[in-house]
């Protein structure tokens, strides 16, 4: 985004409307306030610029092109994937935090992204095989098993000691 300073008052006013920021006239004394507000709104990375509160599905096709140009070349079905991207974007955040304890979700997202031939969650495009996990699933399983075996060994070795009887 080019510098806000160079924009006309009308442009600033339009931008404020796009971001859904309530505002008055853009005059000299209010301009810096509105510029700051716009900067904050942009920094928050609000995805919808042309249409603020409308549904994301169709209108953002064009924005898709700008936003996901580097990713777009990876897959053909960008329209479909973008609509599911934007729809799942809020879900993604929820899923991301939920994914950690519930691992069953992962295979479905993995399969979906594989079927679309464009990852639903574009930031994870390079990590598709691992489907948005920092630690691969098999590593988690292996670690869990290792911890379980370790605990079992510890417990079984404790059983031969007198101390367990003492606890009883």
């Amino acid at each position: 985004m080019s510098s806000l300073r160079s924009k006309s008052a009308q442009d600033i006013s339009d931008l404020l409307d796009e971001y859904g920021i309530k505002h008055g006239p853009v005059v000299d004394s209010t301009r810096s306030l509105y510029e700051r507000k716009l900067k904050e709104a942009m920094a928050k990375g609000k995805p919808s610029k042309p249409s603020s509160d409308k549904t994301y599905y169709r209108e953002e096709e064009e924005v898709t092109y700008e936003y996901r140009t580097p990713v777009r070349s990876e897959g053909a079905g960008d329209r479909q994937s973008y609509s599911s991207y934007s729809r799942s974007k809020p879900e993604y955040r929820g899923q991301n935090s939920v994914d950690e304890p519930y691992m069953y979700d992962t295979p479905s997202t993995y399969r979906n992204s594989f079927m679309n031939s464009t990852p639903m969650k574009s930031p994870d495009a390079p990590k598709t095989p691992k489907s948005s996990r920092l630690i691969p699933l098999w590593v988690q399983f292996a670690f869990f098993l290792a911890v379980a075996v370790f605990l079992y060994l510890v417990f079984s070795s404790m059983e031969t000691n007198e101390s367990l009887k003492g606890i009883e």
């Binding site: 505002h23 008055g24 006239p25 005059v27 004394s29 209010t30 810096s32 700051r36």
Partner: protein, 90 residues
């Protein structure tokens, strides 16, 4: 509204005329100087800003914080003062 200061009561009791900006509730010496430094030397100039911001509380508070670094209480006092003045005289 919770209890208002004497300054607030004095301000909203009459048209502001040429009162200085420090006559506003919440605006003391320090804030007054900062505002004057930015060109807001009279209460009516701040009133002008308040009106241009469409009497919106959040916008006015933000503006006040940006312009003279008013804290939350000062912002609230000033906003309340101007709002009540407008209700009575505007």
């Amino acid at each position: 509204m919770s209890s208002t200061s004497q300054k607030h009561k004095d301000f909203v009791a009459e048209p502001m005329g040429e009162k200085p900006v420090t006559a506003l509730a919440g605006i003391g010496e320090v804030l007054g100087q900062r505002l004057e430094g930015k060109g807001f030397d009279k209460a009516y100039v701040v009133l002008g800003q308040f009106l241009v911001l469409k009497k919106d509380e959040e916008l006015f508070r933000d503006w006040l914080k940006d312009t003279c670094k008013a804290n939350v209480k000062q912002q609230g006092d000033c906003f309340g003062c101007l709002k009540e003045w407008c209700d009575a005289f505007l």
